[in-house]
Assembly symmetry: C2
Homo-oligomer: 420 residues x 2
């Protein structure tokens, strides 16, 4: 990597590099820490480091834009490598063509992805490719896979984690074979899903746990689901988590935003090609209120397998807020809930006339029912929209119709496409 | 601004610019939106925009490093200007030498600062110079200065804001002259200090507010301080806030980190040239527990004017974590509290042998007393440290031994906490 770094890396940090002692953002020192992978140095690296972070990329073409994009990724990686220099993590790039054989052996299949090798596990990073997000992801990854809860105050901390999946097990001691199976299972999902354990009878009693019991907590639900047939093997735990990984309400997170969005988008999670997205700023009273209502609806409908709502807190994505407002034509200074069509990002949003008068849980539930039944759909307003030809970028408009009718085949909405 | 932008700006975003519809991070489009200020265009800009964002800089020298640093700032500003294009905010740079007269008129005195003009107010941004932090700061600034609380759910949201100063007033209606004074006062502190109001008797009753009463909440304290002698003028409110702006326990925030650190550093807030810093990761059980203990100590000592503890959650500053670990020679995967000398960043940290056995509130209070009395100070270990002049940057490894033996001094303290 060349000279360009010295210029660019300060920007990576987006810091102003002020001289106050104790608050100096790191700046790139110019050392090359990210290596290009070959069969030979790969083995060395495997020996040398506990964790390897591999950027698997398509061959860098002679196209200038592509080259620059690649350099930018490299720069982010260099910076992360520097910041984490003493953490025993190796960083490499791997060319999909030159090292096709090795990539195949490693099971890499998605070009442009970052794969992390840790022990027997390969973890794909599918979040925002930014230095801060990556650093935090890697720091979480090298911590213990299981957090131990020792006392009542730590129970409070555990209970505060409500916006993501978590598991909690009660075991005799660190030497228990069931605790070891639990640890092994945790490694499959680290750092995306948090595993907690306790060896303390008082804590277990407070959380109604029997010996070797493992509880699965869906995000935002008050009551956990005890995993049946205790004690469990590693495999049983892993399979249970995989089966229950799709919550009724989930929060979009920078560290796995693309994975969440794409899984949603590509249909694994969506309902007839649509998806329900809610924007609510938790730190704002209206946003908080709306989120509480949304949680209530999710709790009441947790058994409905068709329902999965994606909650986005605009505070988590300041750089995307204006983009979303433009794409979806909504005002994100107040709460919003809508249906987004997966093929063309066409969307319909619930009318919330006044943020002093948010919908009740019942009204929200009725609206969601109308969405699930197809009564509310993204085509209803298409008469107006067609003229403007505005579905965002320039996705070819020609096949919009096909896509739409395909997706909504089993709702009755395609007959009355031009109603209103 | 030149060609360099196209290359660099993608990096500003640190995004991978993936093509998923609905999650496209904005990339710089190459348009110049940030203007250099002159007397003439300044007046035009004042007319055109509600808010002006001015980067006040020293003359750009012929020194290459200085030029690059300036370009980096400009790039961050260009990106922010693009993202907020439809928000009625103008962006300009102002050369301290060329436009000295105007700068003086505007009251700008700190080169390298970002000043925001909004109505009659000039707000200095003294946080992390990063696109995401700046965008969020500006979005907060153009919202209403007062958040209105309408119902019990919104009271919950209000009560959740505990880590920063907040004010809450009860007024007859939006037309009340006292509410207007409250709004005017809020504008002095927006977006750093949050002002809330209610017109709802039920809400007021729940929060024990009488008509025209304004309560001042210190961070982490359970009971607010009613501002005496209601009703209040704008000036009385502003003066009260300024007098009470120094809390017993405060959280370091990206949006005003430098201001907080420097004010601390320069003596306005410090005790005989030292400062107490606590690191605790709120999302981690141990960190959460430590923070709760710290809050308890702060509550018990809120009347001690000498005490002000700065709490840093490493999660808020992923890029600085490794730097702090190196500078202060501590392990931030567990809670830490220490005294930092303002002049040389020399520091002493409380011994916490085992994170399963954190200090009690009493032990912490004793330790803090020893700090305040000077019994614990950063000079005690200077026999070791003196050899190697100056600590942070390139500290040599010679004193590793000392650190280690200190850390592992007494770690046999596992008592069973049976809290049944």
């Amino acid at each position: 990597m060349e000279r360009i770094h010295l210029l660019v890396v300060g920007v990576c940090l987006l810091s102003c590099c002020r001289a106050e002692e104790g608050l100096n953002f790191p700046t790139y020192d110019g050392k090359d820490r990210v290596l290009s992978l070959s069969e030979k140095n790969f083995k060395q690296m495997l020996k040398k480091y506990d964790v390897l972070c591999l950027y698997y990329h398509e061959p860098v073409s002679s196209d200038k834009v592509a080259q620059k994009q690649f350099q930018m990724k490299e720069i982010v990686l260099e910076l992360v490598a520097q910041i984490l220099e003493h953490k025993d993590i190796g960083f490499m790039t791997i060319d999909a063509k030159k090292e096709a054989k090795l990539a195949k052996k490693l099971g890499f299949d998605e070009e442009g992805s970052l794969y992390i090798l840790k022990g027997d596990h390969t973890i794909e990073f599918d979040g925002e490719f930014a230095a801060d997000v990556l650093v935090e992801f890697l720091l979480d990854l090298i911590e213990d896979p299981v957090e131990v809860i020792n006392n009542k105050l730590e129970v409070q901390a555990f209970e505060r984690v409500e916006d993501q999946i978590k598991l909690l097990g009660f075991f005799k001691s660190e030497d228990s074979e069931y605790y070891k199976a639990f640890q092994e299972a945790a490694e499959h999902f680290q750092p995306y899903i948090k595993f907690f354990a306790t060896f303390d009878k008082g804590v277990a009693k407070k959380l109604s746990l029997k010996m070797n019991q493992v509880d699965f907590y869906e995000p935002f639900m008050e009551e956990p689901l005890p995993i049946p047939d205790k004690p469990h093997t590693e495999r049983e735990l892993v399979e249970f988590v995989k089966e229950h990984q799709r919550p009724t309400l989930r929060r979009l997170r920078p560290e796995d935003m693309f994975e969440t969005w794409v899984r949603t988008w590509l249909g694994e999670d969506n309902l007839n090609g649509i998806h329900i997205v809610a924007f609510a700023e938790k730190s704002d009273p209206d946003g908080y209120e709306f989120l509480e209502i949304l949680k209530q609806v999710a709790r009441d409908n947790t058994d409905n397998p068709a329902l999965s709502v994606l909650w986005i807190d605009p505070d988590d994505f300041p750089l995307l807020t204006a983009y979303w407002e433009k794409t979806f034509k909504i005002d994100l200074s107040k709460p919003q809930i809508g249906v987004v069509n997966v093929t063309d990002a066409d969307s319909v949003w619930m009318e919330i006339p006044d943020d002093d008068d948010l919908p009740t849980a019942e009204e929200l539930e009725d609206w969601i029912e109308d969405v699930l039944s197809g009564k509310i759909n993204t085509e209803d307003d298409d008469d107006d929209e067609d003229d403007e030809d505005d579905d965002n970028d320039d996705d070819d408009d020609d096949n919009d119709d096909n896509d739409d009718s395909d997706d909504e085949g089993n709702s009755d909405s395609d007959e009355d496409d031009d109603d209103e």
